[in-house]
């Protein structure tokens, strides 16, 4: 390769005179992310310096304050017009501050706040040696079943590290859908993934299963990250830039200045197509689309349930945000190439999720497959490639994340001697024993099934409408069929809860603290409000549905 064919990053770096300008950072526009990162670091310090007894409260305080403050910052930015008229690129082109970014960041922060409440719940398990315990292992480093574990339990240790870990994951998630160059995207991907891998391994009960889940998630996640990175490298090789806007220009052939190096590579479609495919593959892994869904059931089942709920809701929001931006900002010029592929992915995702879920006997695995089929529905909206496609996906994500987090919060309540009773047979007759809990869970299931007057219906209608308008009517038909199949297993759980006789040795429903009650209450409220009066939120998503380029 001739010297001219080497891209500019190398040549600028080799420039003897260092003319590196001090980066200009718009701190105000990046405030949500900065607050969370700062709070996460404070959380680490709290872990190091605050006495064990008060650590839980200190961590709770830091995390809640940070999430609320960050959400306030998002609202302030949106109110200031950064979602619409003032939308722009910040941090030297690394971060986009626009409607979709702010909408998704707001959703992620609220989801995280609700998720945090379920993380902090300490009333569900019976007290161990006079100490209240949460869902997380006493000491992550102790081998399951070992003496050191027993000692840790006896001493009343708790893994309060989950709070800073949660905040780091949230920081990654905030950047992920806002990233405006590929390197930032990758960094965000890692920042959000690594804490999740860790948290998956931290279950207090069934620790081996939890660690197994974490290892599976980590290995497959590392694979996916490698794919993403490879794709990024190829796209860089193709376009000579990491920036979304520049890559888009190169793809469209509208780049203003063609350097000799660029001229060499930009005709090379193989680089572009393989690079784009690998990049998108990595993102599809994160959203749990078929055929990259294999990790989902195992990880959802093994991870501590509060983590599952948070992960299922927030990760999906962040990953779909990033996918939308890649497809709509970077690769719109490649639309005719990726649309058929995404069609196929959406169809198999909807169908496989719905069909395989029928055979599940564990409530967490069932919800995992349900999450897969929902990813397919959202993809139908992504494929629309219209403004209404963007806003419908935004709305769906907001609606879906609160249903998910509420549903998993209910799962934490149903317990027997071995911890959570997640086997479906144990849920028989729950409606007789605790009508309220069963009714709430039924509301969530009906929302998943997309029954009218729940948020699930409004979301489903929005994405299907967008897909139909975008010329994807067959996708709507497949979606409708998948919904009918999916309805079967949601209904099966309702039948089990209400029409089956309770088992004599069945599980009990723990009475949670106000924390989990708040989480579930918020879930129900959002589900009903978005179902009955979605107009305001649809408008919000509609206004937010324009990407800055």
């Amino acid at each position: 390769m001739s010297a001219t064919a080497v891209h500019s990053l190398w040549t600028t770096a080799a420039d003897p005179i260092s003319k590196i300008d001090a980066p200009k950072i718009e701190y105000g526009q990046l405030a949500p992310t900065l607050i969370i990162v700062g709070a996460a670091i404070v959380g680490v310090l709290v872990e190091a310096f605050v006495p064990r007894k008060t650590r839980y409260y200190a961590q709770m305080f830091v995390a809640v304050v940070a999430l609320v403050a960050a959400f306030a910052a998002v609202v302030a930015l949106a109110a200031d017009g950064y979602g619409t008229t003032k939308a722009g690129i910040a941090a030297m082109g690394a971060i986009a501050v626009d409607g979709p970014a702010l909408f998704l960041q707001g959703t992620i922060l609220l989801t995280a706040l609700v998720g945090l409440f379920t993380f902090a719940e300490r009333r569900l398990d019976p007290e161990a040696h006079g100490n209240r315990v949460d869902s997380f292992a006493a000491q992550a480093a102790s081998v399951p079943g070992s003496d050191s574990e027993k000692k840790a339990v006896k001493a009343g240790f708790t893994t309060t590290e989950v709070f800073p870990l949660l905040l780091f994951a949230v920081a990654g998630m905030l950047v992920f859908p806002a990233a405006n160059d590929l390197l930032t995207l990758f960094v965000a991907l890692e920042v959000l993934s690594l804490p999740l891998y860790l948290m998956c391994a931290l279950a207090r009960r069934k620790r081996l299963m939890s660690q197994e889940a974490a290892v599976k998630y980590f290995l497959l996640g590392a694979f996916a990250s490698a794919f993403t990175l490879f794709g990024i490298a190829l796209l860089y090789g193709y376009s000579g830039s990491m920036s979304y806007a520049t890559i888009a220009q190169v793809v469209d052939g509208t780049v203003p200045e063609v350097t000799p190096a660029l001229a060499d590579t930009m005709g090379n479609d193989a680089l572009l197509l393989v690079g784009a495919a690998l990049l998108v593959m990595g993102l599809l892994f994160k959203v749990g689309a078929v055929p990259f869904h294999m990790w989902t059931p195992d990880v959802y089942q093994g991870a501590p349930t509060p983590v599952t709920g948070f992960m299922a809701a927030a990760t999906k929001v962040a990953a779909f945000g990033a996918l939308l931006r890649i497809l709509y900002v970077v690769l719109p010029g490649l639309r005719w190439d990726w649309r058929p592929v995404m069609w196929a992915v959406a169809i198999v995702t909807m169908l496989v999720g719905a069909i395989v879920a029928i055979t599940q006997t564990d409530i967490k695995r069932l919800l995992a497959y349900s999450a897969i089929s929902h990813a397919g529905f959202i993809l139908a909206g992504v494929i629309a490639t219209t403004p209404s496609g963007i806003s419908s996906v935004l709305f769906y994500l907001a609606a879906y994340s609160f249903v998910t987090i509420g549903a998993f919060a209910v799962v934490t309540l149903v317990r027997d001697a071995g911890g959570e009773a997640t086997h479906l047979s144990k849920w028989a007759g729950l409606g007789r024993r605790s009508p309220l809990v069963a009714a709430v869970f039924a509301v969530f299931l009906l929302a998943f099934a997309g029954i009218p007057l729940t948020s699930g219906f409004a979301g489903k209608f929005a994405v299907f409408k967008a897909a139909a308008e975008g010329g994807a009517a067959p996708l709507v038909v497949v979606g409708v069929i998948a919904s009918a199949i999916a309805a079967f297993f949601y209904i099966r759980v309702i039948v089990l809860m209400f029409f089956s006789e309770p088992r004599p040795e069945g599980p009990t429903v723990a009475v949670p603290s106000p924390l989990t009650m708040t989480a579930i209450g918020v879930g129900v409220a959002v589900t009903v409000v978005l179902g009955v009066a979605p107009q305001y939120f649809l408008e919000l998503a509609g206004d937010a549905g324009v990407f800055v380029r």
């Binding site: 007789r432 024993r433 605790s434 009508p435 309220l436 009906l446 099934a449 029954i451 009218p452 007057l453 219906f457 409004a458 209608f461 929005a462 299907f464 409408k465 139909a468 308008e469 009517a473 709507v476 038909v477 409708v480 069929i481 919904s483 009918a484 309805a487 079967f488 209904i491 099966r492 039948v495 209400f498 029409f499 089956s500 006789e501 979605p534 107009q535 649809l538 408008e539 509609g542």
Partner: protein
């Protein structure tokens, strides 16, 4: 702004449902009275609607229109035509009787958890269904209609699966299994139908850009909205499929016998007499109103299916051993008549079909509720377990006979008029179909009279010898309905006056004129 009468008519039972559900567990009887009170108040409002409605006025009256979900092009639009008014009146009329008939159906056997309140739930769910049914009769926005059309499945599902006959030949455990099977079957059939309709609803939005019945009809009339022939046909099929499941039309009917057999008699009445009417009503309002060309295109096929329903339902009714299942198959046969009347595309046929919806509601209610009283006395649903009941319980037997005779369309009772109109309306355009359908009446006589003969006449079986006759509450349920059957049989004018102008509008939607009588044409 005038008083939102239609909203109030639907909101009242909804409020009643919430109030009933909120009654504490110990105050079971109070919940029942509360439910009855709300259902009667709803009846009063329905009567007000009936009085305020001017049959010769605008097509849709008492209209309300508010913005709702602008992003989906959805408005909260209500309005009633004569057909809707008649059906709202039927619904509001039947619910108090259903509540009264089911007075003891949901008393808990064992106390269970302190918060377990089946009785409150039972009556709250009935009122919730009433609210949603009334709203779906009132909605003139397709999306609004769809929402309640789908949402009403959920309370019904709990009514079917959660409450069944006390007595069951195979014990409570089997009964519970069969109940939940019936409930799931009901839900999956109807949900599948509804989801197919959802695809068509979305398609309609893509084509028309809004969901307002009046706006779409207007746009089609003045040519600003032009549907391609194929699009219209697909959309029609999507809508029709959902309504045919609900109605139900052969071969999509198989959920109905299970659902009616397993649920308590009042709930069975709620399903056939009230909820299923939404399906046939929607065929008139939405299939013919939105897709006239496609409706004409599909007419031959639908008429054939309707005739199959008539004959098949009647034949299967003849062969049933279970009283409730027999009534269910008889209903399938009657729904065949209604659908045939609708798609005969004559004004007699459609007037007859609408009248049939009302009459079938009343006659089935009489037959089914008395059957329910009978079954709860004997503890069995099997026809063979009865015999000679008329000797021990003459009032029960007598009213049962009237209900049966109404079902076989005896002249002088209400269903005769409607069946006659449907057959005349069909015959003028499709003589062969009309002739075949007539055999349905013969079979109806067979299954009704055989049912009566086997259960009520003959030697008194020892198990029924101590059977008490109808109690005061039961007579209060049956007597008004029987009076109504006779009254509408002799003097159907009040209903036809309300219905006929609306039918004319529907006929003009599909641009059909009645065929001229042969004699006149020959001149």
């Amino acid at each position: 702004m005038s008083f939102p009468l239609l909203t109030a008519t639907a909101a009242l039972p909804a409020i009643g449902a919430i109030a009933t559900a909120a009654v504490p567990a110990a105050k079971r009887t109070a919940a029942k009275w509360l439910a009855l009170l709300f259902s009667l108040a709803t009846l009063v409002l329905a009567v007000v609607v009936l009085v305020r409605f001017d049959p010769d006025g605008d097509r849709y009256q008492l209209t309300e229109s508010h913005a709702w979900i602008a992003d989906f092009g959805v408005r909260y639009e209500l309005g009633v035509d004569g057909i809707a008014v008649a059906l709202i009146a039927l619904t509001a009329l039947l619910i108090p009787f259903i509540v009264l008939a089911g007075w003891h159906d949901a008393d808990p056997l064992e106390t269970g958890s302190k918060r377990w309140r089946p009785t409150q739930g039972f009556f709250a769910l009935i009122l919730a269904v009433e609210a949603m049914v009334i709203l779906s009769f009132e909605a003139t926005d397709v999306f609004l209609f769809y929402i309640f059309f789908e949402a009403m499945l959920i309370p019904l599902y709990f009514l079917i699966g959660g409450f069944g006959d006390r007595a069951h030949e195979h014990g409570e455990e089997t009964a519970a299994t069969q109940r939940s099977y019936a409930a799931v079957k009901f839900l999956l059939y109807n949900l599948a139908g509804g989801l197919v309709m959802l695809a068509a609803v979305i398609g309609l939005y893509v084509v028309a850009g809004n969901f307002s019945l009046t706006e779409i009809a207007e746009a089609r009339a003045n040519g600003s909205l032009d549907m391609a022939t194929n699009t219209e046909r697909w959309l029609f099929l999507g809508f029709f499929f959902a309504f045919a499941v609900k109605a139900p039309l052969w071969p999509l009917h198989t959920w109905l016998p299970n659902a009616m057999q397993e649920s308590t008699a009042p709930v069975a009445v709620l399903i056939t007499a009230v909820v299923d009417k939404v399906g046939t009503f929607a065929m008139l309002r939405f299939c013919l109103g939105l897709f006239p060309e496609a409706s004409k295109w599909a007419t031959p096929a639908i008429l054939v299916l309707a005739v199959i329903s008539i004959i098949y339902g009647a034949l299967l009714a003849v062969g049933q051993r279970d009283i409730k299942r027999l009534i269910a198959y008889a209903s399938i046969s009657h729904f065949g008549f209604i659908i045939m009347g609708i798609f005969a595309m004559t004004s007699q046929g459609q007037s007859g079909a609408t009248l049939y919806m009302v009459n079938h509601g009343i006659s089935t209610a009489v037959l089914m509720l008395i059957a329910g009283f009978l079954i709860s006395r004997r503890g069995s649903r099997l026809i063979a377990d009865f015999g000679g009941v008329q000797k021990v319980a003459p009032v029960l037997a007598g009213t049962f006979l009237i209900g049966g005779l109404a079902t076989l369309s005896l002249p002088g009772l209400a269903p005769f008029v409607s069946e006659f109109l449907v057959l005349v309306g069909t015959f003028t355009r499709y003589p062969v179909i009309g002739i075949i359908a007539t055999f349905g009446i013969v079979l109806a006589a067979l299954y009704t009279l055989v049912l009566y003969q086997r259960t009520m006449t003959g030697p008194v079986k020892p198990e029924v010898s101590a059977m008490p006759d109808l109690r005061a509450r039961e007579i209060a349920v049956v007597a008004p309905l029987v009076v109504l059957l006779v009254f509408l049989g002799v003097y159907p004018k009040p209903v036809t006056d309300v219905v006929n102008p609306a039918v004319k509008h529907t006929m003009s939607d599909v641009e059909k004129k009645d065929p001229r009588p042969e004699v006149e044409a020959a001149k």
